[in-house]
């Protein structure tokens, strides 16, 4: 056992010993920043920008699934909530607000008024708040909903937790879809335009500028905004992982009974995981809402939750860098790889996109057979997987004995 573990560890040490961590990170960051100049402003950059948003979501879900060990199959709910927040605060969805003159907070000129033929200006109706304010509003709102949706699941484990979170992922988009006459049946305001969705959405502008940050011809700034958001997400993730709360998450994941007996408040610890995980879902949701220029219920399907979860698992649950790699790999394959493949196969009369899920599933299958712990697993996870292999899973049966009897209470 020790020999196998030692070889695993020395493999990692050999890589990290070669280049110092900060240098590696600096080179990677520099490459990420100049990346748009290398690829131009085409569909590859478009796919990369979307990928960055998925990286944020994967990192958010990683807090729930990887750190705290809570299975979540309804993560799309927070994408939906975040996207609808920018839909409400950055579009003409509420035309009657402020007597039809609209509310404009640091919005771009294009979102504020349109010039009249006679020379005057006409206010644009609806709420128009700067993107960089809305992302934080959305984080607060989704964090709150993370707590509200997390609270009923606290007594549940494993399969049951998966089913309930799956249900939430289905409920939330349906609620938005049916909010054409008041939210939750209260009032008569149209919140979503039903299946049509909200479009167009305000484009990003810097708070001190009245011009749009990017255009379809030049997507680079949008990429950089997404990159900045990813860096913020990584920063928060790392700080939390190495904190008192991060330790509590891992303790809860490993053994709830022991964690509770060490004075860890299970409810609070799990709700923090849900809240922070959800906040990043909303954070990325706002970006995707404005970037795609539409917020539409069709975007929020169950498959999306699975997609993000697959990124976390393929990359390596619990490892920030692994999750990023997983997200980039799966997202680029989905957004760029398959369409490219389709271009090749189309002349042959064969539509690859029709079987994209099949290709995807096959890839996941191979991955799980060859490397179940993910591309870059966290040290802890790797040990968990290989421990069973090495020790012949001798005592896995004994782990849950008392936890089944444990009367979880609030």
């Amino acid at each position: 056992m020790s020999a196998a573990l030692a070889s695993l560890r020395s493999g990692r040490d050999a890589i990290t010993g070669l280049v110092p961590g900060w240098l590696f990170a600096a080179v990677l960051l520099a490459a990420a920043v100049v990346f748009p100049y290398l690829v131009g402003s085409g569909s590859f950059l478009d796919a990369s920008t979307q990928t960055l948003a998925y990286v944020i979501m994967a990192l958010g879900l990683n807090i729930v699934v990887g750190f705290a060990g809570l299975l979540d199959l309804g993560y799309v709910a927070f994408y939906a909530i975040g996207a609808f927040v920018i839909g409400w605060f950055g579009s003409q969805q509420f035309p009657d607000v402020n007597g039809g003159k609209g509310i404009h907070i640091l919005a771009s000129d294009r979102a504020t008024f349109q010039p009249k033929l006679s020379g005057g200006k006409l206010d644009i109706a609806g709420i128009h708040i700067n993107f960089f304010i809305v992302i934080f509003i959305a984080m607060a709102i989704t964090a709150m909903w993370g707590v509200l949706l997390g609270a009923p699941t606290l007594r549940l484990r494993g399969d049951y937790l998966a089913i309930v979170t799956l249900a939430f992922g289905e409920i939330v988009p349906r609620v938005f879809e049916n909010s054409t006459s008041g939210l939750f049946g209260i009032g008569s305001t149209d919140f979503s335009h039903g299946r049509q969705g909200i479009t167009p959405i305000d484009k990003i502008n810097l708070p001190w500028s009245h011009d749009l940050l990017y255009s379809d011809a030049n997507l680079k700034p949008a990429y950089w905004v997404a990159l900045g958001m990813v860096l913020f997400t990584i920063f928060v993730n790392r700080r939390l992982r190495d904190s008192r709360l991060g330790r509590a998450w891992i303790a809860v994941r490993e053994d709830e009974v022991a964690a509770a007996s060490m004075g860890i408040n299970l409810v609070r610890t799990k709700l923090w995981a849900y809240a922070i995980g959800a906040a990043f879902g909303g954070f990325a949701g706002v970006f995707l809402g404005t970037y795609n220029n539409t917020v539409n219920v069709d975007q929020f399907e169950f498959g999306f939750s699975v997609f993000i979860l697959a990124m976390v698992i393929v990359g390596g649950m619990g490892n920030i860098w692994g999750v990023i790699v997983g997200a980039v790999a799966l997202s680029m394959m989905n957004r760029y790889g398959l369409p490219q493949l389709n271009n090749l196969s189309e002349p042959l009369g064969f539509d690859v996109t029709a079987i994209s899920f099949g290709i995807f599933g096959f890839f996941l299958l191979i991955m799980m057979v060859l490397r179940p712990e993910g591309l870059i697993p966290s040290g802890r996870r790797r040990l968990e997987f290989h421990e069973a292999e090495i020790e012949g899973a001798e005592d896995t049966g004994a782990v849950g004995d008392m936890s089944q009897m444990y009367e979880v209470r609030r």
Binding site: R244, R247, A248, A258, M262, G263, N265, R380, A398, R409
Partner: protein
């Protein structure tokens, strides 16, 4: 911990309550699972700075009783008073915060964390960092984390665990038991519940553990409630022994009294008839 050690005898005596005063008072605790009465109307007292033991044959309800005290089970009836407050059926984390720490019969370490990290988790309720502070890593959080790490190493040194950066799962059995105690001590308990700490230990390790318990009592003013099968340890270390059989208290007293009690002999060896 070091404060108490350094402050010397007089200060410690002046501040600590007199030996013999009640720390935990358990009255009429029962636990029923369906039709099975696992613990039946047990009264129990733990004085300050005492080492008391709970013994009994397998299945006597000792661990169930422990779980009732620490909040893992809600007692069916009865009250648990600890250090002047009622902790009956409180949540496990609140019980720990009140000053009761425990170890587990089947070791429940956080296996993929290092020994030091395990102890730091034990410190959780004593740390005050908040989430925003953790993200911004304020000077307060930085200082607290550093102090926690140092304190964890101090505790590990106290229990005699040397491989502090080793993952818990890689530690030898005796060290895992030691680490469980260290982790429990990290919450600054007034009462330490040890559930069969010498299980699987060799005689030398058992003896080391016995010394450790004595030191905890004299140096740290911690009371210990011990479940143990090793009679040599129990008889040597305990001030007071309570015997459970079939969930009922059948005897209690000093080691000498319990050793000679006919009901205890019967429970352990079976009746002659």
């Amino acid at each position: 911990m070091s404060d108490q050690q350094q402050s010397g005898g007089t200060a410690a005596i002046a501040s600590s309550p007199p030996v013999g005063e009640t720390l935990m008072d358990v009255t009429g605790v029962s636990k029923v699972f369906g039709g099975l009465v696992a613990v039946n109307d047990v009264n129990f007292v733990v004085p300050h700075k005492a080492i008391v033991s709970l013994i009994g044959p397998n299945g006597a309800g000792k661990t169930t009783f422990f779980n009732c005290l620490t909040g893992l089970y809600r007692p069916t009836t009865g009250r648990v008073n600890f250090d002047g407050s009622d902790i009956t059926a409180k949540r496990p984390d609140l019980v720990t915060q009140a000053g009761i720490a425990r170890t587990f019969q089947n070791i429940k370490l956080f296996r993929t964390m290092t020994a030091t990290e395990n102890v730091q988790v034990g410190m959780h309720p004593r740390l005050r960092s908040r989430v925003t502070g953790m993200i911004l890593r304020t000077p307060f959080v930085r200082k607290e984390e550093k102090a926690a790490r140092e304190r964890a190493r101090e505790i590990l040194k106290f229990v005699g665990l040397k491989r502090m950066d080793e993952l818990a799962m890689n530690l030898p059995y005796g060290d895992q038991r030691r680490l469980e105690i260290a982790r429990a001590l990290a919450s600054d308990p007034k009462l330490l519940l040890l559930d069969e700490p010498t299980a699987g230990m060799n005689p030398q390790e058992s003896e080391e553990l016995r010394t450790l318990m004595e030191r905890l009592r004299t140096e740290q003013d911690i009371s210990i409630l011990l479940i143990e099968h090793d009679m040599k340890v129990v008889m040597n270390v305990s001030d007071h022994i309570t015997v459970l059989d079939h969930g009922e208290k059948i005897a209690e007293g000093t080691p000498q009294q319990v050793r000679q009690n006919p009901r205890v002999i019967e429970a352990y060896l079976g009746s002659q008839a």
